[in-house]
Amino acid sequence: MEVRFTSCGDTAFNVEFGETIDRATNARVMALHARLKAAPPPGLVETVPTFRSLLVVYDPVTTSRCEMQAAVEAALAGSDAAPEEGRLWRLPVCYDPDLGPDLAELYDTLGLTAEQVAALHGSVEYFVYMLGFMPGFGYMGDLPAELERPRRTEPRVRVPAGSVAIAGRLTTVYPWESPGGWHLIGRCPVPLYDGDRPDPVLLAAGDRVRFEAVDRAAFDAIAEAANAGRFDPASLRAA
C-alpha cells in the first residue's frame, strides 16, 4: 500500500502503512521509527509507533508540517532495511484460576481447560507491536487462533496489576491496576512498570516475549523478591 499522511492538528501527523494489524506492516512502522530516532530532523519532538502507523510529533514553532513531511519522505526513500531484532523476554505466568478469573468462562465458550489455555498461550513467541493504554502496556501478537475471543462486553472496573490477558489475536500483561475489557487468564509476578528501575518500563515496541508457566509457589517467590527489590528483570532476557 502507498504510504498515507494524515493530519493530527499542527503538532503531529500519522504516516500510515496499511489498515491491518500484521507483522509486515508493523515492520515498516518500526523501520521508519528507528531511522527517525537515529537521525532526528530539526524540530522533531518524538515518534510513536503503533500497529500500522507512526505518529510523528513536531514543534510547529521551529518547523512546519511541510518541512517535517519532506524530512520523513526523505527518510522513507532511504534504505528499507529491517530494524534490529528486539530483545527476547521470558515472562513467568501462573495460570491459576484464582489469578485468571476468566479461565472458567474460556472453558465454557472454547472448551479448553486451564492447562490447555496455558499450553496454547505458551506455545508461540509473541511480538510487541506497540505500547499504549497505560505506561508499559504492550500489545503482543499473534495469539493462536484457538484462543481468539472478542473483548468482554462488560469491561471490568478493576483489573489487578500483573494480570495476563487475551483479546482478539492479542495478549498483554496489565502493568497497573486499571479498568480493562480483556479476558484474564493468569498473572505475571514481574512488574512491567517499576519506577525504581533505571528503565521503569520493561517492554519496548519490537521486543519479543515468550510466556512460561510457573506454579503458585514459584509465582509467590518471584512476586516477593520483586516487591523487595531483589528481582533483576535482566534475568528474564533470553540469551
Partner: protein, 353 residues
C-alpha cells in the same frame, strides 16, 4: 537551618506540579501530561524571572494554603484565582494575580477558588528543587508518575525550593490578564475524518456542544448532536495528541487533554489546533463550545501569531505601580501624556485617562 521550602498547610482539592509535559516517552505508553493551560504557566514563570517551561503548581477547583519556610520567596499566579496573604500580626490581605509578590518567612499564602476556568497556575522564583522523572516534573496522577510520587499535593508536603531568598529587583506585573481569544475552537480535520458521514461533518461544524460532567485532565466528554460513522467507530489503535477529538460508537465526541492515553482505537474526526489548546484546557463542565475548520498551514500561522502575542505580553511586564495616585513615570513611558498615541487608529489598548 532546614532547606528552603513551601509547606502545604492545607492541600486544596486538586493541585499538581506540572511543567510543559513529558515528551519523548510516548513510545513506552507514557502520557505527556503537563499544564492544561501552558500560557498561564509560561506567564507566571515570566513574572518571577524563570524560564517559561519551569514546573509550577497547577491549581484546579480550590487551591492549597502554603507556608513560606524560607527567608523569602517570590511567587506569581496567573488565572482566575483568589489569593490571600496571612502575615503574623496583620489582617489577611488579598493579593492580585497576574503580578509577582515577595513573601517572607512564616507567611501563609492561601490560594482560593478557581472561578472562570478549570485551572490557574502558580510559579515560584527558581522553581522547585525536585528530581525530574523521565526528564519532566509533570504529574500523571493515574499512574502515580512524577514528583511527590505522582499525586496531588497533600497536607504536610514540603515543596523544596531551589533558592532560599527572593531574586533582586522589585515585584512586576502584567499590564492585563492574557487574552485567550473567543469564538469557535479551531480544528484541523483528521486523521480519520473519512470515517464519518458528510452529515456528521456538517453537524460537527455547525452544532454547539457542552462539556459534560465527565471532564478531567484526560479529556472532556462533549454533549450534543451525535456524529455518525461510516461503518464502525473502531480503528486499529493509533497515536493520539492533546486536542484529538475521538468519537466512540455512541457518536458523542471526546476532546482529549494532556493526560490522554498515547494511543486509542476510536476514529478521530479532527484535532484542536495548538494555539487553541490553552482555551480547551480551561474549559469546565457546562461550558459551551463549537468548532471551526482551518488548514494545517492556517493553524501554523495562527500559532506563530499566538507566540508573538505571548512574547509581547512578556515584554510588557513592568514594575508594579504604587497603589493610589498617578504613576507619572509609567504614564510617560507609555506616551500617554506626550501625545504620541494614535487615538484615531487605536494604537494603544490602554484606556486614556
Amino acid at each position: 537551618m532546614m532547606a528552603a521550602c513551601l509547606t502545604v498547610v492545607r492541600p486544596g482539592l486538586f493541585a499538581t506540579i506540572q511543567d510543559l509535559g513529558r515528551f519523548g516517552f510516548q513510545e513506552l505508553g507514557m502520557p505527556v501530561a503537563g499544564a492544561l493551560d501552558p500560557v498561564a504557566l509560561r506567564l507566571a514563570n515570566a513574572l518571577v524571572g524563570n524560564p517559561q517551561g519551569t514546573a509550577g503548581l497547577e491549581i484546579a477547583l480550590l487551591g492549597p494554603a502554603l507556608r513560606v519556610d524560607a527567608p523569602a520567596v517570590r511567587i506569581a499566579a496567573v488565572g482566575p484565582l483568589a489569593l490571600t496573604l496571612e502575615r503574623e500580626g496583620d489582617a489577611p490581605q488579598p493579593l492580585a494575580p497576574h503580578r509577582s509578590h515577595t513573601l517572607r518567612q512564616g507567611d501563609v499564602l492561601r490560594l482560593g477558588a478557581v472561578d472562570g476556568a478549570s485551572v490557574a497556575c502558580l510559579a515560584v522564583a527558581g522553581g522547585f528543587a525536585l528530581a525530574p522523572v523521565m526528564g519532566s516534573l509533570s504529574t500523571y496522577v493515574r499512574a502515580g508518575i512524577g514528583p511527590l510520587g505522582g499525586r496531588p499535593l497533600a497536607e504536610g508536603d514540603r515543596l523544596p525550593l531551589t533558592r532560599d531568598s527572593a531574586p533582586d529587583g522589585s515585584d512586576v506585573e502584567l499590564p492585563q490578564p492574557p487574552d485567550y481569544g473567543a469564538g469557535p475552537l479551531r480544528v484541523v480535520f483528521g486523521p480519520q475524518e473519512d470515517r464519518f458521514t458528510d452529515a456528521a461533518i456538517d453537524t460537527f461544524l455547525s452544532a454547539t456542544y457542552r462539556v459534560g460532567k465527565q471532564a478531567d485532565r484526560m479529556g472532556l466528554r462533549l454533549e450534543g448532536p451525535a456524529l455518525a460513522h461510516r461503518g464502525s467507530a473502531d480503528i486499529p489503535s493509533d497515536g493520539l495528541v492533546t486536542g484529538s477529538i475521538q468519537v466512540p460508537g455512541n457518536g458523542q465526541p471526546i476532546l482529549l487533554l494532556n493526560d490522554h492515553q498515547t494511543a486509542g482505537g476510536y476514529a478521530k474526526i479532527a484535532t484542536v489546533i495548538s494555539a487553541d489548546l490553552p482555551r480547551a484546557g480551561r474549559l469546565r463542565p457546562g461550558d459551551s463550545l463549537s468548532f471551526q475548520a482551518v488548514t494545517v498551514e492556517e493553524a501554523e500561522a495562527i500559532r506563530r501569531r499566538r507566540e508573538q502575542a505571548i512574547a509581547g505580553w512578556v515584554r510588557a511586564i513592568r514594575p508594579v505601580r504604587p497603589t493610589g495616585g498617578i504613576d507619572l513615570e509609567a504614564l510617560y513611558a507609555e506616551n500617554l501624556i506626550s501625545g504620541t498615541v494614535d487615538i484615531v487608529n487605536g494604537g494603544s489598548d490602554i484606556p486614556l485617562l
